[in-house]
């Protein structure tokens, strides 16, 4: 039996927290890129393209993330791809994030007055230029608070990847708990580490919200 001092536990948890941070960032960036593509489909002029994007978003918002991760983990090998927990976790969270981010940004696009599009068109801009120069910058700027809020949700969601075997904070804490039999202390510390990661972002989102309301 290995003896764990308090600082051993803390050190191991902090080392594992690096993977939680890395996974959150990878999923946020990946989700942002895929989410942009979904957004393009969601606000396109073509009715079918809008419907497909709505279906995609409804699918990811209407099923548990845990199921999405399981399908990724067990489904991709059926397509002949060799897959490890890290790949399944990043891909699963990327698609999950893309649906939510696309929907958040879509609400920003919808909130803009129709005149913004008309003004762009009257300046002779074509569709993509209108999006790039006029619509998207404003849409992103008014949805900054919910986007940061979603990042908090994403960080918390990385905990689920422990279930498909990715070695992040929660999985490491399970292992430490099995060795030390001190669940109160171990899970308390894990909660504290998550809190320290999420709380500043929550406060930041709140200040963005206040600033937006004051404008």
């Amino acid at each position: 039996m290995i003896e764990f001092t308090f600082w051993d536990i803390v050190r191991n948890l902090l080392l594992a927290a690096r993977w939680t941070v890395l996974l959150s960032l990878a999923a946020f960036v990946g989700g942002g890129i895929v989410g942009m593509v979904v957004l393009f489909f969601r606000i396109a002029k073509n009715k079918w393209s809008r419907r497909i994007a709505s279906g995609y978003i409804a699918l990811f918002q209407g099923t548990p993330l845990l199921m999405q991760l399981f399908l990724m983990f067990f489904g991709l090998p059926m397509l002949g791809l060799r897959i490890e927990p890290w790949t399944a976790a990043v891909l699963g969270l990327t698609f999950f994030a893309s649906a939510y981010l696309a929907e958040i940004w879509r609400s920003g696009v919808d909130a803009l007055p129709r005149g913004q599009w008309d003004a762009g068109a009257s300046l002779g801009l074509h569709y993509l230029q209108e999006l790039r120069l006029i619509i998207l910058p404003q849409a992103f700027s008014i949805t900054r608070a919910p986007t940061v809020g979603f990042l908090v949700q994403l960080i918390k969601s990385t905990a689920l990847t422990s279930i498909i075997g990715f070695e992040e904070l929660v999985r490491t804490s399970n292992a430490i708990n099995n060795a030390t039999f001190e669940p109160f202390k171990v899970y308390g510390l894990v909660a504290l580490i998550f809190f320290l990661m999420c709380f500043p972002l929550t406060q930041y989102a709140r200040s963005l919200e206040r600033r937006a309301a004051a404008r």
Binding site: G62, F74, A159, I163, Y187, F195, F199
Partner: protein, 218 residues
């Protein structure tokens, strides 16, 4: 893809779905009640209570549900509080949901014009009657759509409680795939069941809310 195992598994899937429905039903009732008390306490309670509720909301909203669940199920026994899995799951889900709905209900309470309270007091109602009969119904009507989405989110979150061996839908899926070796197909079918459940739950809440709270609820 092979689905020959499916007919024999329908019983297990249905059983799991019933437990998931039970979990969300209990959570919805207990969580809403708790959040009404919490939101009222945060506005009218003593300073210490206000501060405690504020911290409770922050802690629950900034930590993962899975960790809260493990803390309650594995951590509390060392304080002498031992809960069976189903009870622990219900407690964790209720406490988690309340943290979100305290804010939602609070926003609703703030949105009811102050004149409503003044008018009710002027009619001779006692403060408690004013809250229960005048302010709360109006607040609930305002926040009903937000409450509905939170309940659906909670239902999807409940998949996680399979990790402490509550025999709900995901737990049954785990058992099935271990028996059939058809992991992808099993989770695919169960995902569709969750999708149907979440759509049905949303529909039920919207029509039920329209009946209970009157027109204008979406």
């Amino acid at each position: 893809m092979a689905f020959a195992w499916l007919p024999g598994a329908l019983g297990d899937i249905a059983h799991g779905a019933v437990t998931t429905i039970l979990l969300i039903a209990v959570t919805t009732l207990a969580g809403t009640l708790l959040s009404i008390l919490g939101a009222a306490g945060r506005r009218n309670g003593p300073v210490l209570l206000k501060r405690a509720i504020g911290w409770y909301v922050e802690v629950m909203r900034n930590t993962p549900f899975l960790v809260q669940l493990f803390f309650i199920f594995f951590g509390l026994p060392s304080l002498g509080i031992r809960l069976d899995p189903l009870l622990a799951a219900m407690l964790a889900m209720t406490l988690n949901m309340a943290a979100y709905t305290i804010e939602i209900v609070g926003a609703g309470l703030d949105a009811v014009p102050g004149g409503q309270t003044e008018a009710a007091l002027a009619l001779g109602l006692r403060p408690r009657q004013v809250f229960i009969k005048i302010v709360l119904p109006q607040a609930l009507k305002i926040i009903y759509p937000a409450l509905t989405s939170q309940i659906v989110i909670m239902m999807l979150e409940s998949a996680v409680v399979s990790q402490i061996a509550v025999r709900e839908l995901t737990y049954e899926a785990d058992m099935l795939q271990a028996r059939t070796f058809r992991s992808f197909e099993t989770y695919f079918v169960v995902t569709l069941v969750y999708l149907a459940l979440s759509m049905a739950l949303r529909r039920l809440l919207v029509t039920g809310g329209r009946r209970a709270l009157g027109a204008g609820v979406s």
